[in-house]
Symmetry: C2
């Protein structure tokens, strides 16, 4: 059932990720041109993430017909596995963005347009027809109303504080491969009337090496709570990440959120640098996705964590120093959450993203109102 008009006009807004969820949605990786060795390693990593989240809230994993039995087998019994076809498995970007009514009485989903992160010219894969239907299918499963949206936007390109502020990057949202006919102001208008925000904070760029997504915010910077952000950081001034982090730091230092707060900025150091190995690249088969080449710098960032009910699910890259540091910083930032470290998250990174990219929270509303 589609709702006419915008979420804001209908009394809906996007709540912050730390607000209570009724469940988490995930996809199941499969395509062998993006996930090495026919996705077996990635599937194990996804299963580990799903299992970890399912200790804190219900999880639904969607898998294609040919992978359904395999997913069912590799996932814990308390994870729901349902059949759904997709071109790739980044539910942050292709799933619905859930919105709630102001008194948390009703739930709905925004179904953004999608062009595989840049269309036929700059996109990550050439056929995204199944991804276009994902949000609608998820909303059908949950019997939830849908807000259609023509704007091309991936969920990983926005973060909200739930109180009127949105973080995004110019590198992605103003990229001409997404919405060439829209101005910055027009895009801001859409974000305001769909997410229920009043102020957009534009960082110029995302993480270094994050070319797949053209610099998604969710690999670079996120909210801890209103007025507090975490920023991907490096102390190494020779690292090309440094310039990007410093640029974002300066902007965040000079601005205020929708409610006039100055930001507290917590630095979260990146691992590595990490590069794709020959062996990893050799595990890929040729397909219609962008080639992944040995030696490429991976866009590794601990910012790409997920906030579950009472837990922070954070990628670990096998970099002892910075893995530990990330866990320490996140424990401090989210003192009322348990930090759950997912070892082997490098396999998700090899596909182009991390834990935040592969998860989508469905906010909780009172049960009697949920259907």
């Amino acid at each position: 059932m589609d709702i006419e008009g915008t979420p804001v006009a209908n009394g809906y807004f996007m709540p912050a990720e730390w607000e209570p969820h009724s469940q988490t949605w995930m996809g199941w990786p499969e395509r062998p041109d993006n996930w090495r060795d026919y996705a077996v390693h990635a599937q194990r990593a996804f299963a580990k993430v799903a299992a970890a989240i399912s200790m804190f809230e219900p999880v639904t994993v969607c898998a294609s017909a040919s992978q359904w039995e395999n997913a069912r087998k590799l996932l814990p019994e308390n994870v729901r596995v349902i059949e759904m076809s997709m071109n790739d498995s980044w539910f942050r970007d292709t799933g619905p963005t859930f919105v709630v009514s102001h008194c948390r009485q009703k739930l709905a989903g925004i179904d953004w347009n999608f062009n595989s992160y840049g269309g036929l010219e700059g996109g990550c894969y050439q056929d995204w027809s199944l991804d276009l239907l994902l949000a609608r299918k998820i909303l059908q499963v949950e019997k939830l109303p849908r807000f259609p949206q023509n704007l091309i936007l991936e969920g990983g390109s926005i973060h909200v504080d739930g109180e009127g502020t949105c973080l995004t990057t110019e590198e992605c949202l103003l990229n001409k491969n997404r919405n060439p006919d829209l101005t910055r102001e027009q895009i801001e208008d859409e974000l305001c009337s769909y997410l229920g925000v009043r102020k957009i904070i534009w960082l110029p760029r995302g993480s270094y090496g994050d070319e797949d997504t053209n610099g998604h915010i969710d690999n670079m910077c996120c909210f801890v709570k209103p007025g507090v952000v975490l920023l991907a950081w490096t102390d190494d001034k020779l690292d090309p990440q440094y310039e990007r982090s410093m640029e974002a730091y300066n902007i965040l230092s000079d601005t205020t959120d929708a409610n006039g707060r100055k930001f507290e900025i917590i630095k979260l150091h990146v691992p590595g640098p990490l590069y794709m190995t020959n062996e990893e690249a050799a595990g890929l088969v040729e397909g219609d996705s962008v080639p992944r080449v040995a030696g490429t710098r991976l866009a590794a960032s601990y910012i790409n964590f997920y906030i579950a009910n009472g837990a922070i699910i954070v990628p670990q890259f096998g970099d002892k120093k910075w893995d530990d540091e990330a866990a320490r910083v996140l424990s401090g930032a989210f003192s009322d959450h348990q930090v759950v470290r997912i070892e082997g998250a490098r396999e998700i990174l090899l596909g182009g993203g991390n834990i935040h990219c592969i998860t989508q929270q469905q906010p909780a509303i009172p049960r009697s109102k949920s259907a």
Copy 2:
């Protein structure tokens, strides 16, 4: 989540079809070797059935990835369409048989084994691997527990009165193409401990011409309420259906139900006889299903109706006399239900069944206990 032990051992039983439903499940026809003209006519008929039921209770239609958009387009907006792969679309036979706990507090599903109505030798199609997963997938969507069952059984081969009696046929359930190693007594034991019945009434045969299913009961005889049955009938003593109907009539007259009641038998005259036309047969393409040949007598029966909440959804075959008579008889039998006549149900019949075969009721339980 699987439950160990039988439904009866866990306090569950199968309620009668006239008890309140929370929703109806249906599949979406597609295979061009069974549904003529690439299933376009059948899809319209299925959509008509779904639309009719959805006036009385929620309906979920499952469609394959390639048909999802088409199904979504042809179905009313209030019908939920979810992606699910299948070999064919007879959810009565391949969906779960839902069971409830005695105080209607809990709901679960029996996941029978299935071999395409008779296996590689006598079955209707050669690959039934997707059908084997349907019940499990449906239960996952609804987050309901599952009772696995090794017995090969299609839901259309049983009818229960919800008070301890089961109707079935020897032609189907004792057929050596289903469970060759089990005796009648062993099959009875399984039915008793899975459906929660105490008495099985065996009719020797189903309707004439119903070779696909080997004589499913749901095309031949069903309960109106405990102690009252409807029986497919013909007054034409030369019709081979006559002998079958009379044989069933005699058995039903001579027996009692689980609670010692004699049966009131209401005769429901078959239409026709109806035969597959040349044009209809010509619309089929070659595949791995049993060939459908022009001139074949169709197993047409008004018994193959569905009981929705407050409505009887009955097939109409374009046979004015018997269509009207069926509506009259059913209105009398179900005086507190509205009889909804589905014109064009011949298209479902051409595929091998009718409205009861393509529907599966999910019993209602108090909402707070449903998940």
